[in-house]
Symmetry: C2
Subunit: 109 residues, 2 copies
DNA sequence: GCGCACTACCGCGCTATGCGTAATAGTGTC
DNA sequence: GACACTATTACGCATAGCGCGGTAGTGCGC
């Protein structure tokens, strides 16, 4: 029941997806993912993913000092990120379809 | 485009699935997966997964000396394996649904 | 005014797992 | 006799999510 392994290679996609229409800061992305059903995703994973995607050139980043609390590091998806998102989404769908096929075939045979 | 990361935590499920109706040996499992669409799965991954599942008590194992070639180590899914398979399959479907939801929500918002 | 909770971020080290590579070994082909 | 295919195993690497702890700011209750 280790949901964590399922996240591998998919968290990138999820993070890009929740950022695609609206910039967000780490803690916010975390909340979006958790509200979206990924209850168990760890904060360190999200921050790490954001930094990784940023380093890879898929995200823009800017810090906004907050009046009420610590500063917030906002991230936004740039063109490269949108391309990556589209690719990852397709790869995910293809992969999901493949696995579904294997699961069904096993059941049928 | 690193499909390999998507496999994480799912290869167990796929292997159990292709073995669920018919015992098979490693190389055969590998072929079943590749024919099923998982072209890029490595042989070492499959053998490793089989050993891991066997150690975890989900598979039975018996060696069959072959007339034409090296011996074959057959694996079969036992009761624990079937339970595991059912659980994993459900976890997978739930997870896939969650991610689909996040992808759709991002697109809609 | 001090501790505590919540927001917000970061770094370190651990672990699981798929993969590359190489080794072993039997059989058939050219 | 070198090579290709089947079949398995072992060693070590890289990726990435996570647990844990630390830093820091704000506000609340006692």
């Amino acid at each position: 029941m280790d949901t964590s392994q399922l996240l591998k290679g998919v968290l990138d996609l999820a993070v890009l997806a929740v950022l695609r229409n609206e910039d967000g800061y780490g803690y916010d992305v975390l909340r979006r993912l958790r509200t979206g059903g990924m209850d168990e995703v760890g904060d360190a994973s999200v921050y790490g993913t954001l930094r990784r995607l940023y380093r890879a050139g898929y995200l823009t980043s800017y810090v906004v000092p907050s009046d009420e609390g610590p500063h917030r590091k906002y991230y936004g998806v740039n063109e490269a990120g949108r391309t990556k998102l589209a690719e990852s989404e397709e790869a995910w769908r293809a992969f999901a379809a493949t696995l579904d096929g294997i699961l069904r075939k096993g059941a049928a045979a």
